[in-house]
């Protein structure tokens, strides 16, 4: 079997089961996004796949059990970038990306010309050439995320695990980063496994989604099947409208006390105009008594967020 295959993967933290029964496959060059509310076990799943935490079940890459591989062999097969990477401020982007060559070097070995050329190619590809000699401490958020990606790609692994790669990025930088990942996937056949908070981005870039809730896989499949109003509302306790336009899925958080937007449904041609559903820009006229009795929180995609703060 080719690609990445998870069979009944589970993990426990201090005796408490935090992840259980995850089985899925990702074809070579595929992109699976793990979604779910905070604390659902998304990062735990990525760490289990990377072999960084004790887990049960099996993680197979092209039929080989990864758990039993020695660390260096495993690091040549799977690269991992955590949600909040530590960027040693004294290192340059080049030095940092070169650390990605570690699993390819002999113990205590140093990089040779081949390693330098791999990293040069990666930096160029991620448009980091101009920043190659800059210290990590001087990078902006978007540049830092690209540097982290460069380090992961320098590993030249078949599988890349990215834990919330768009954390802290504005919508433009997030899009640019995900498009870059998408290109690596389609051009180089890299298999991608990410966690993503932003359901709209997850739905638009990943080929399939795996929804976790409280450590359990609760839905899996193409974005159009997983991202429904009912599923998102049930597992995120959020108030959303899922819109579909020509294959692109968008999950819009909607204020609980807002006028219901025009429900277009999945295949309606035109999404409602932003002002109809915007959370803060143009609040609808409010009655003195808050509607419902629902707490006015958790209206965002996954981050709890106060619906009204004015």
């Amino acid at each position: 079997m080719t690609g990445l295959s998870l069979r009944d993967v589970g993990a426990a933290y201090r005796g408490r089961t935090v992840l259980t029964g995850v089985s899925t496959t990702v074809a070579p060059g595929g992109w699976l996004a793990v979604i779910g509310p905070n604390g659902a076990g998304k990062s735990t799943l990525l760490k289990a796949v990377a072999g960084l935490i004790a887990h049960n079940g099996s993680v197979l890459l092209d039929g080989t059990e990864l758990t039993t591989l020695p660390p260096r062999r495993r690091a040549r097969a799977i690269a991992y970038a955590p949600q909040n990477p530590l960027l040693p401020p004294g290192l340059t982007v080049t030095d940092y990306a070169l650390l990605g060559r570690t699993p390819h070097l002999r113990p205590l070995g140093r990089e040779g010309a081949a390693d330098l050329s791999v990293v040069a190619g990666v930096l160029q590809r991620l448009d980091l050439g101009g920043l190659a000699e800059r210290s990590l401490s001087t990078l902006s958020g978007g540049e830092a995320q690209r540097a982290v990606l460069a380090r992961a790609l320098a590993q030249q692994s078949d599988v890349v695990l990215l834990d919330e790669p768009t954390t802290g990025l504005d919508v433009g930088h997030a899009q640019a980063l995900l498009e870059l990942v998408d290109r690596l996937r389609t051009e180089d056949g890299v298999t991608v496994l990410t966690t993503l908070h932003d359901l709209t981005l997850a739905g638009q870039y990943a080929g399939s989604l795996l929804l976790l809730d409280d450590g359990h896989p609760v839905a899996q499949g193409p974005p159009g099947e997983v991202l429904t109003d009912e599923t998102v509302e049930r597992h995120y306790h959020a108030h959303v409208t899922v819109l579909g336009t020509g294959g692109a899925t968008a999950v819009l958080p909607v204020r609980r006390d807002a006028q219901p937007p025009e429900r277009g449904g999945r295949d309606a041609g035109v999404p409602p105009s932003p002002s109809d559903v915007s959370e803060t820009d143009s609040p609808p006229a409010r009655s003195d008594s808050p509607s419902g009795g629902e707490p006015a929180s958790a209206a965002g995609s996954s981050r709890p967020r106060r619906a009204s703060s004015r």
């Binding site: 991992y80 530590l86 401020p89 990293v119 050439g129 870059l180």
Partner: protein, 351 residues
Amino acid sequence: MSVATTAPLPLRPTRLGVVRVAGAAVLLVAAVVAGVLVGAADLGPARVLGEVVAQLSGGVSPLTSQEAAILWQIRVPRVVLAALVGAALAASGAAFQSVFRNPLADPYLLGAAAGAGLGATLVVVAAPSVTGWLIGPLPLAAFAGALGGVALAWLLGRSAGPGTASLVLAGVAVSAFLTAIQTFVQQANTETFREVYSFILGSLATAGWGEVLVLLPYVTVAALVLVACARLLDVLAVGDEEAAALGIRPGRVRLLLVLAASLATAAAVAVSGLIGFVGIVVPHLVRLLVAGSYRVVLPLSLLGGAAFLVGADILARTVLAPAELPIGVVTAFTGAPFFALVLRTTRGGAP
């Protein structure tokens, strides 16, 4: 974010380089020469050079035999010992800063200082003076105390969980506990104040070739291990999880590095007492002035630490001559303002 298809990027990774090593070596040689020429007994630079030439060529020395003894049995071993101690403390400090991802880490972080202080105090209070050993009971007790403190902190920290935070906290707890015992013993034997105090402030006054021989193997082994692992120090600095994802075993690497650094530190403490500041300031000066990769920081800390302590010792033995200043006072008094100046004039590159 276009995919460029131009010629490959010329990559310039941070490397040690001949120029940087040569610069640090020149600094060290200058400090050593000054350390040999300067001293309480005024031998005169020209006559010292004459003696060195005479030794090399077999000619007639301008020094009396007593003066030659001062030079070869007191001054030269003292300079060599200062260089070894400085190199050991600075390189160990650099290693600890990476291993614990903490810019304030110094070689004493895990209880080496408190353990050595306790060992030394117990010997001063309880043991009779011994003669005829290559190394006296006080250095031996300080060495054992330093290693014992580190071992205690390591065991306590490991039992508290993985990662570096629990180790650092265990070091704090062990240090406080051992210092409490040391203070109690000292208070119960107030006549030992002076001797204990002089150990705690550090001194190279009793240096001889015996101390050099004792220290040399530890510093050599530690220097080789740490320089060989310099790239791993960079890997550890990105965090345990990512280091593991890059295929190394962070726990094992950390144990090896802490062991090497602690052996060198314990040996240095045994022969020179507790000399503060070198382990923090020298690696940071290298980082601020040259580069942040441990491939540069570690070797240059070895050379720079040696030069710094030789220089500090010159001041320690000349400022109040014939009396001596504790060298720990000199390192802090001269190092702190210089460090502050560098900190202000460079843009921060500290970890």
